[in-house]
């Protein structure tokens, strides 16, 4: 309940900053918006780019510049943060289509198909490895729904996917992770998932 109230209050603050930035051409208001949301947008892009921080920062900068140009197109039907995530995801897709990042990453993926160590001790590393073996859509849905904390509806808006598809990808992705990490779980013996 408190969380919902906080979220509503945050959304109201964002709306008021957007109104100030639009009506008074107030750059300081937009700066506040950048400060409030840069962390999550950069985290989103960094995850999508599999840890490539420099590329993530470039895309994040492009995202905020686009947001500044298109600010008058922001409608309060979505939270401002969700709108930013949508722009960031569109920038990411554009980069994948036009630049060499995807090709470089494809080579990295081939490396990931090497057999895993038999007794991997670090569950976090195994989770990262397992995540990379999910489909791109499943990775994106789990990132937005579970790690960034968006609702299924918000993730559907950000990823421009039908709601049912988002739910299907979330269910399938989790099922695959459960299967793969259950094997780790068996191998680890007494290790318990928190």
């Amino acid at each position: 309940m408190t969380c919902v109230a906080d979220s509503a209050a945050e959304a109201r603050i964002d709306q008021s900053l957007v109104a100030r930035a639009l009506l008074g051409d107030d750059r300081r208001a937009f700066e506040q918006l950048v400060r409030r949301h840069q962390g999550m947008v950069r985290a989103q892009l960094c995850r999508l780019l599999h840890g490539d921080e420099a590329a993530a920062d470039d895309l994040a900068q492009e995202t905020f510049l686009l947001a500044w140009r298109k600010l008058d197109q922001f409608r309060s039907e979505a939270r401002f943060s969700t709108w930013l995530h949508r722009i960031a995801y569109a920038c990411f897709l554009q980069t994948c289509r036009t630049k060499s990042w995807a090709a470089r990453h494809a080579q990295d993926d081939e490396m990931e198909h090497l057999p895993a160590p038999a007794n991997a001790m670090d569950l976090r590393l195994d989770l990262a490895r397992a995540m990379r073996h999910l489909s791109t859509a499943e990775q994106a849905v789990l990132l937005h729904c579970v790690q960034l904390g968006l609702s299924h509806e918000e993730a559907a808006y950000v990823l421009a996917m039908p709601l049912g598809t988002v739910k299907t990808h979330a269910t399938r992705g989790k099922a695959k992770l459960k299967t793969w990490l259950a094997a780790w779980h068996d191998a680890a013996g007494e290790e318990r998932v928190p």
Binding site: Q38, G39, R42, A43, D57, Q61, L65, R124, L127, H185
Partner: protein, 107 residues
């Protein structure tokens, strides 16, 4: 051995997420790159409204129904043509009002 549940996977994924990235000068870099906002000019809208009104008038005044309605209106006769004309104008005005209110609400 307990099987993994969705909640366990959620917890693992959340734990593996490092959270928001610290600013480290990012915001300042963005603000330095921010271009001046281009003000949308009002003339295309005004020209569009004018052209639309002229075309609408030309097409309507050529219509016999509209002419009959106009003549009926001038002599104070409430014919069916006059009622259709007034209803159409009232409907268009209400639609324009609704659109304006919706746009104002969005902003």
């Amino acid at each position: 051995m307990n099987p993994l549940h969705d909640d366990d996977i959620d917890a693992l994924l959340q734990k593996s997420f490092d959270g928001p990235v610290p600013d480290a000068g990012f915001c300042d870099r963005v603000m330095q790159q921010l271009p001046a906002r281009r003000r949308p000019s009002a003339w295309p809208l005004a020209v569009g409204v004018l052209v639309g009104a002229v075309l609408c008038s030309l097409s309507l005044f050529g219509s016999s129904l509209w002419r009959a309605a106009w003549e009926g209106w001038l002599v104070g006769e409430w014919s069916s043509s006059t009622l259709i004309m007034l209803s159409t104008m009232a409907g268009m005005s209400l639609l324009a009002l609704g659109w304006t209110l919706a746009e104002a609400d969005d902003h």
